[in-house]
C-alpha cells in the first residue's frame, strides 16, 4: 500500500465531491492541520509531562523513605528530606522480618525461574520438533489451559494443595508455578522459527535426542530463553495471590505477602509512611536491576506475542 497520486482529473472530481459533502468538516480539518504545525513542541511538552507523572511517584517514594514519619506526612512532595533519617531501613531489618521475607522470595524465585525455563523449553521442544502420537492434543489442551484466568484458580489451587498435604509448605508455593503454558508457547514459537537442518546433522552424527536439545538447540534459542527468564523472574518475584492461598504461617511469607501485610496495617499505630515506602523500594530493586540489564531486549522485542 502506498499513497500513489491519482490522475489529476479524478483527484479534482473527488475533491469537488468532498467539498460539496463536507464543507464544515473541511474547515475544521484545515485549522487542525495548521494548528499542528506546532506539533513537535506540543508533543515534547506532553511527553515530558507524562514522563514526570510516571516517574514522580517513584522519586517521591524514594525520598519519603529517607524522611522522618512527621516529615513524610507533612511534606510528601518535597524531594529532599528535611532531616535525613535511615530509621525506616533500620527498622525493616530489626523490627520487621524483612530478611526472612527476602530469603523466601529469593528461594521461590530462583527455583521457579530455573525450573520454568528448563521445563517449558523441554516441553516446547518436544511439541515443536519431535513427532509423537498425541502431540496435537497436548498442544491444543495447553492453549485451552492458557485462557483460564489466574484469579479463578485461587480457591481451586488451595483445595488441591490441602488435599495433597502441601498447604503451607515451600513445595506448595513452588511446584504449581514451575511450569506455565504461556512460556511453553513462547518457546515453541521460537523453536519453530529456527532451521531444523543443524539438529538433523547432529542426530545423523549420532547425538541422542536429549543431547541434541541440550547442546545444539538450547544455545541457539538464547533470545527466547532470555525472554522467558525475564518473564519468569518478574512473575514469581511479584507473585502474590498464589502465595496468599498456599501459605498461612509467618515463616513462609515472601516480600509480596509480608509487605502487603505491612500496608494493610499490621504495624499498629501511625501511618509509618517511610517504613512502607522503604519496603516498597527494597522489593522493587531486584526487578529494577533485571529490567535495566535487559532493557534493550525488553523494549525491542515483539514480546507481546506471548500475550496476544
Amino acid at each position: 500500500m502506498s499513497t500513489t497520486a491519482l490522475p489529476a482529473e479524478v483527484d479534482t472530481a473527488i475533491q469537488a465531491t468532498i467539498k460539496a459533502q463536507l464543507p464544515v468538516r473541511r474547515a475544521g480539518r484545515r485549522s487542525a492541520w495548521q494548528r499542528y504545525r506546532v506539533g513537535p513542541i506540543l508533543s515534547y511538552a506532553m511527553l515530558i509531562l507524562f514522563a514526570a507523572i510516571y516517574i514522580y511517584p517513584f522519586l517521591v517514594a524514594l525520598s519519603g523513605s529517607f524522611k522522618t514519619d512527621a516529615d513524610a506526612t507533612a511534606n510528601p512532595l518535597q524531594l529532599i528530606p528535611r532531616d535525613w533519617s535511615f530509621a525506616a531501613y533500620t527498622r525493616l531489618f530489626t523490627n520487621v522480618p524483612l530478611p526472612l521475607w527476602a530469603m523466601n522470595s529469593i528461594i521461590v524465585t530462583v527455583v521457579v525461574t530455573v525450573c520454568r525455563v528448563f521445563l517449558d523449553s523441554l516441553a516446547a521442544y518436544a511439541l515443536s520438533r519431535l513427532s509423537f502420537r498425541g502431540r496435537t492434543l497436548i498442544f491444543s489442551s495447553l492453549i485451552a489451559v492458557m485462557s483460564v484466568p489466574n484469579v479463578v484458580l485461587l480457591i481451586p489451587r488451595f483445595l488441591v494443595l490441602k488435599q495433597f498435604g502441601m498447604y503451607d509448605t515451600y513445595m506448595g508455593m513452588i511446584i504449581p508455578l514451575i511450569v506455565d503454558a504461556g512460556g511453553i508457547f513462547i518457546m515453541k514459537q521460537f523453536f519453530e522459527s529456527i532451521p531444523v537442518s543443524v539438529e538433523e546433522a547432529a542426530r545423523i552424527d549420532g547425538a541422542g535426542i536429549f543431547r541434541t536439545f541440550w547442546t545444539i538447540v538450547l544455545p541457539m534459542a538464547r533470545p527466547a530463553l532470555v525472554t522467558l527468564f525475564i518473564l519468569s523472574f518478574q512473575g514469581s518475584w511479584n507473585e502474590f495471590g498464589s502465595f496468599i492461598v498456599s501459605t498461612q504461617s509467618p515463616g513462609l511469607r515472601t516480600l509480596t505477602t509480608g509487605i502487603a501485610g505491612l500496608f494493610s496495617g499490621q504495624l499498629g499505630s501511625g501511618n509509618q509512611f517511610p517504613l512502607k515506602l522503604a519496603a516498597a523500594i527494597l522489593m522493587t530493586i531486584p526487578v529494577a536491576v533485571i529490567f535495566f540489564i535487559f532493557q534493550r531486549k525488553i523494549m525491542n522485542t515483539t514480546e507481546g506475542g506471548e500475550k496476544g
Binding site: 492541520w33 499542528y36 510516571y54 523441554l122 511446584i175
Partner: protein, 380 residues
C-alpha cells in the same frame, strides 16, 4: 494458531515414519518424556483443581476435612442461587461487586488503551530525542509489583498526601480518597440538586441493587485504583502498540506526510487503521485483565470503604477464606470465569465482523488520502 502460522518445521516431522531405525526413532518416547513434567504439573495444579472447585461449588462442604468425602452432600445449584437469585445479603454483595467491577472496566479499558496508544505513537517518532528514556519511564511501572505500587499510591493519595497537596496548591480541596465511598456520578448528581436515591430510580433493578446504585459510577476510592491500574498497565500495552508500529515501518507514514497530511490526519487516516488488529488485542486483554483485579483490592483493605472497591475476584476469595462459605466462594469464581469467557468470545465475534466492515472503511480512507493530496497541491 502458531501451528498454522509456522507449519514448515513442525510438519516436516509428521511426514516421516515414526518407527524404524532412522534418526527419528525413539521420538515417541522422548516426546512424552519431555512433555511429562508440564502435563503433570498443569494437570494436577490447574485442570484437577478446576474440577475439584466445580464440585465444591455444587456441594455443602464446610471447609473441614477433604471436600471429597461421604459426608459432603450435593446441593445442586443452591450456591449459585444464593449469590444470583436468593434475594439475600449474599446476592446484594455480589451485585455490588459486579457494579464496582463494571465501572472499573468502563473507565480503565478506554483510558489505558488511549494512553498506551498515545505514548506508543509519541515514542515511536524517529526524530524524538531521549527516546530510550521516555520508553523506560513509561514502561517501568509495569515491571514493578502491584504490592509496591499500591503501597506508593497509599502514600500519594493519603488525605494530606502529595496529590491532595497539589490539588490544594491549585486552589481545590482533595477528598479523603480511600475513605470516600460516594460514587462520582452521585456526586455530580448532587451538584444538580438530585438527592440521594431519587424515587424514580429507587426500584430494585438487578441483583438486589437499585437503579440508583447501579448508576453510581466508581466511588472516589475506586478512582484511585483506576488511576493505579492505568498507571501500571499502560506501559505494557504501549510496548504492544510500539511493536506493531515498528512492523508497519515509517515509509507509509512518511508518504502520508509528504503528501501533506498533518500529524492528526496521518494518525487517524493511516496509522490507526493499520493498528486495528493490535488495538483489538489490547482491548481484549484489557477486558479480561480488568475482571481479574485482586492484589490491589486485597492490599487496600478488601473492598473498603462500604464495599465500593469490592470486586468479584476478591469477593470469591473473601467468601471462601474469611467467611468460610466455600460453596458460595467457588460459585462466584465460576460466575467470574463465565463472564471472562463470554467477554473473550464476544470480542472474537466482533473482531470477525470488523474484517467484513473493512470494505466500508475504504471509501473514508480514500477520502482522507485524496484530501491530503489536495492540501499538498495547495501548499505548492
Amino acid at each position: 494458531m502458531t501451528a498454522n502460522a509456522l507449519p514448515h518445521a513442525a510438519r516436516r516431522g509428521d511426514k516421516r515414519p515414526t518407527r524404524g531405525n532412522g534418526i527419528r526413532s525413539g521420538e515417541g518416547r522422548y516426546g512424552w518424556l519431555f512433555t511429562a513434567p508440564a502435563i503433570i504439573i498443569i494437570g494436577v495444579f490447574l485442570v484437577l483443581p478446576i474440577f475439584l472447585a466445580l464440585w465444591v461449588s455444587v456441594s455443602d462442604w464446610s471447609g473441614l476435612g477433604s471436600p471429597i468425602n461421604s459426608q459432603v452432600g450435593f446441593v445442586g445449584a443452591k450456591n449459585y442461587q444464593s449469590v444470583l437469585t436468593a434475594g439475600g445479603l449474599a446476592e446484594q454483595t455480589f451485585g455490588t461487586s459486579i457494579r464496582n467491577n463494571l465501572w472499573f472496566v468502563v473507565f480503565v479499558v478506554p483510558l489505558q488503551t488511549a494512553i498506551a496508544l498515545f505514548l506508543a505513537v509519541q515514542v515511536n517518532r524517529r526524530l524524538l530525542r531521549a527516546r530510550g528514556f521516555f520508553r523506560t519511564a513509561f514502561y517501568f511501572p509495569s515491571v514493578t509489583s502491584a504490592v509496591a505500587i499500591t503501597g506508593i499510591f497509599i502514600f500519594l493519595f493519603a488525605s494530606s498526601g502529595a496529590v491532595n497537596q497539589i490539588i490544594a496548591a491549585l486552589g481545590g480541596t482533595g477528598p479523603t480518597w480511600f475513605a470516600d465511598s460516594r460514587g462520582i456520578f452521585h456526586i455530580v448528581a448532587s451538584w444538580f440538586g438530585v438527592g440521594n436515591n431519587p424515587p424514580a430510580l429507587s426500584g430494585t433493578a438487578l441483583l438486589e441493587l437499585s437503579w440508583w446504585d447501579w448508576l453510581s459510577g466508581p466511588s472516589v476510592a475506586m478512582c484511585v485504583i483506576i488511576i493505579l491500574v492505568v498507571f501500571t498497565t499502560s506501559g505494557t500495552f504501549m510496548l504492544l502498540f510500539l511493536a506493531a508500529l515498528q512492523n508497519i515501518g515509517g515509509e507509509i507514514e512518511e508518504a502520508a506526510l509528504v503528501d501533506g497530511a498533518g500529524p492528526f490526519r496521518k494518525f487517524f487516516g493511516v496509522t490507526l487503521p493499520m493498528l486495528k488488529p493490535i488495538l483489538f488485542t489490547v482491548l481484549t486483554l484489557g477486558l479480561i485483565g480488568t475482571w481479574q483485579i485482586f492484589d490491589q483490592i486485597y492490599i487496600l483493605g478488601g473492598g473498603k470503604p462500604a464495599n465500593t472497591t469490592l470486586t468479584p475476584a476478591f469477593l470469591a476469595y473473601q467468601t471462601s477464606f474469611k467467611s468460610l462459605n466455600w460453596g458460595d466462594g467457588a460459585a462466584i469464581s465460576f460466575i467470574l470465569f463465565a463472564i471472562i469467557v463470554v467477554l473473550t468470545a464476544l470480542q472474537r465475534i466482533i473482531l470477525r465482523d470488523r474484517s467484513n466492515k473493512e470494505r466500508l472503511d475504504k471509501p473514508l480512507a480514500r477520502l482522507l488520502r485524496d484530501d491530503s493530496i489536495r492540501s499538498n497541491g495547495g501548499a505548492q
